[in-house]
Symmetry: C2
């Protein structure tokens, strides 16, 4: 392996000058920079990361803990994030070290990795209210960036979408189409994102002068089948009134809802409108639904670069920044005007 010293020897320069030349310091003679670059290229010089890290005190590695659910099912979103994050971090010359959370104690894997003492920071995801990881990492003074946020106003670095607005946009659209009976099939209630969606939903429903009775708000839906069974139940109705519109936590759930509608002999969007939040996962494309699905869209992949950059900057000494984007509302064919005979609010 080529070293700075070797390059220096070849050119009659010191390692220090070579280092500066390659790192673009302004005080190096332009011709010298040229010559150094040329030799470095020729012999294929690559800086020794370890040496670099020893002296800078940074490792250029960040960690991420994967939380595996009790049933060990693989999280579809995980690969999407993993792909995007390794690419975004790689662009800034940072590597991702993964570990798995298999304990009951959510902090244990962080402790283990911190003890190793080779990571510059952590990427956190799936925040819950009062997430214990935040206090823990903060106390240890270890940089981290959260995907999403554990509460509406936080002062740690985070990036995510406005989940309350996601529901609000959906409800407003449906209300403008005349819908008065809007159901929600929400995700895992323990996560903050779901709490935010629920809050936004309730607020928007109220703001539109409507109500949604509890039986028509479902929590903890995950699979297509969850969407199917919950929608089937809801479509049985109450006192002869059934929801005319569904707000779904994911396109997967929306698929289940649409299947339920079909099984009940209802068509979308003539009888029932369906809108979902779309993480833009490759395997569940909203456009290829029949009819094409109206969504609030915020590709998970788009979060990767901001998260990576936020973290790398933070490690570099920047101050923690919060960034909350708004999901895009894309109206397609799964939402339509409320059917005339169903345009009354809940009895």
């Amino acid at each position: 392996m080529a070293t700075l010293k070797q390059i220096g020897a070849e050119l009659g320069l010191s390692a220090a000058t070579v280092s500066r030349a390659l790192n673009g310091f302004p005080e190096v003679n332009k011709q010298t920079v040229e010559r150094v670059r040329e030799v470095a290229d020729r012999i294929g010089y690559r800086p020794n990361r370890i040496a670099q890290r020893l002296v800078t005190g940074r490792s250029n590695m960040v960690g991420m803990i994967i939380k595996i659910r009790a049933d060990m099912s693989a999280d579809q979103t995980f690969f999407e994030m993993l792909t995007g994050l390794t690419a975004a971090l790689g662009a800034r010359d940072v590597d991702l070290v993964l570990a798995v959370d298999q304990d009951d104690d959510p902090l244990q894997p962080y402790r283990k990795l911190i003890e190793r003492d080779i990571l510059d920071g952590f990427l956190l995801n799936a925040p819950v209210p009062d997430d214990p990881r935040i206090a823990f990492l903060r106390e240890k003074n270890i940089p981290f960036v959260m995907h999403g946020q554990s509460a509406p106003d936080v002062d740690y670095a985070c990036y995510g979408i406005d989940n309350a607005a996601v529901s609000e946009d959906a409800v407003r659209l449906l209300s403008s189409l005349g819908h008065k009976r809007i159901a929600l099939i929400n995700g895992q209630a323990r996560y903050t994102y779901a709490a935010d969606r629920l809050r936004g939903f309730r607020q928007a429903v109220k703001a539109e002068g409507l109500t949604t009775p509890d039986p028509f708000i479902a929590q903890d839906a995950e699979t297509e089948n969850d969407g199917y069974t919950k929608a089937l139940e809801m479509l049985a109705g109450r006192d002869g009134a059934r929801p005319t519109a569904f707000v779904c936590a994911s396109t997967l759930i929306a698929a289940g809802v649409m299947r339920a509608a079909k099984d009940r002999g209802l068509t979308v969007p003539e009888d029932v409108s369906v809108i979902a939040h779309d993480d833009a996962l490759p395997q569940m494309k909203a456009v290829s639904f029949e009819p094409a699905l109206t969504v609030t869209r915020a590709p998970l992949r788009d979060a990767c670069a901001p998260l990576a950059n936020l973290l790398v900057d933070l490690v570099g000494g920047a101050t923690p920044q919060q960034k909350i984007d708004r999901a895009e509302l894309i109206v397609r064919q799964s939402t339509g005007p409320v059917p005339a005979q169903e345009s009354e609010p809940w009895p």
Copy 2:
């Protein structure tokens, strides 16, 4: 952070002696070792990995590339392996760096990580015949361990199970129960493991004096639904004869096969016997099948420690070792004697 020098200063010793004391060198006075240990414990000394790595030339990190399928679906087995591998590697003080294979070129992610020059070796999985990664890594002289093997006899480090024997055991069991019409629903044909299973199946069928016509050998089954549809097809029979037994690549596929049998009005094991290979994934437990599933069992989790140890040893200079274990045959209730009226070979 505590350093060797600090400990030495406190005890009036040189850093060199402290280093040796902590690393158990024999030439250090026992009392000295005691005193050093005591101080190190008290101030919570942890060796600086980076410094250690600079001088030893090792990084104590190994890489693994995750291949994501075209549909981006998460591989169920991946999390199981990831969990076990991080634990097994961690026990030997090694970290796992992950990257994602998203290119058409299977070598690209390896190139990128190698270029980074921070990894001691690689863990490979899902070998295919003539796997290009082998020649590539070998040429670059980078240690690696394969989970499974790309061909029957190889000279690189690997650990796996005897996949030909898996099928042979299954066929032999079924044959001993009188079955003459045995079907195979195999996994992804492009992988070596599936080729081995097919080879073992054909050999065993022949050895038992039987045949299995091509329509009753299915390839590329992955999901429960694949198992369902392929079994449904096969159970329609040929010239009035249907398979009396199924050998399945996974418990998931077996679940589909059993559903298909049920839909055809057949009961397991009275009308149809089902045997599967069981990777012992937590979400698809063979014992909780109705009836409990007969399997060849080789927990994926059990492969993690051998793989980790093989690789760490290899990095440490050991010679590449091949280890092939035999899966355990566990007879439960899903296999039984062939029904009397179906005990004839294919017409």
